[in-house]
Assembly symmetry: C2
Homo-oligomer: 141 residues x 2
């Protein structure tokens, strides 16, 4: 997949881990919850506007990230959303949740306090796990 | 599609409009924004856990509702989410948004004040539009 432009506002808030067949893979810097953001390679803004064929491929990448969150990170619950009211370029949230996280049961948007940053080792481990389990093509952290 | 059990807490907050091939179709009683909720016929809780084939059929119904919101109701933006932190049974939010709505650009959850109820004529018109445009099988309102 060719490099696409990731919106600056997302890059400012996230670590760029790599890409899957349809999407760049970001991790929100807020480490209270594992909050992945996929940026599909499209000019459309809403996921439900994608063609059926493109939507299926994007959703398959989203399901792979969800599977990583559940099987490797051990979460039972994943929140999934495409909003884009603030950053219009299409980006999809895939977030591991549990009943003891800091904003349960509220959605994360607007309800999470600042967190300690991820440590470089944590990011490297997460990236390596996604390379191994779901075929992430990594970028330099 | 056989009748499925819609969680009581969703029924209390929503009008039941009918069903599409994979899902019951609800409309949140809060009329500030057109807030549809699809309840797929599954025991799974997270949309990204569905089999690929089932997920595609569910997403196709979601896309139909989004298309109704955009083409008939005239919205340019649709928010899409599967959360389920409060009501665990799978239900998917499909919400028409615009920059003048009461909680823009925040997500709707926890950010919408009470609204006047929908009028029976409005509900009937909406249901009829969905029957005509996206093949909704209606139930008695």
């Amino acid at each position: 997949m060719e490099q696409i432009n990731i919106p600056d506002s997302l890059l400012a808030d996230c670590h760029h881990l790599g890409h899957l067949p349809t999407s760049q893979v970001l991790l929100n810097r807020n480490a209270h919850v594992p909050w992945f953001i996929l940026v599909p390679d499209t000019m459309l803004q809403d996921v439900l506007d994608l063609s059926e064929e493109h939507r299926e491929r994007v959703m398959s990448d989203c399901a792979a990230v969800s599977s990583y969150i559940k099987r490797v990170l051990g979460f039972e619950k994943v929140n999934f959303a495409g909003l884009g009211n603030v950053v219009p370029e299409m980006h999809l949230h895939i977030i591991g949740r549990h009943a003891q996280d800091p904003c349960w049961p509220q959605p994360v948007w607007g309800n999470l306090s600042d967190s300690e940053p991820y440590q470089p080792e944590q990011l490297g481990e997460m990236q390596a796990g996604m390379v191994k389990m779901i075929g992430l093509s990594p970028v330099t952290l």
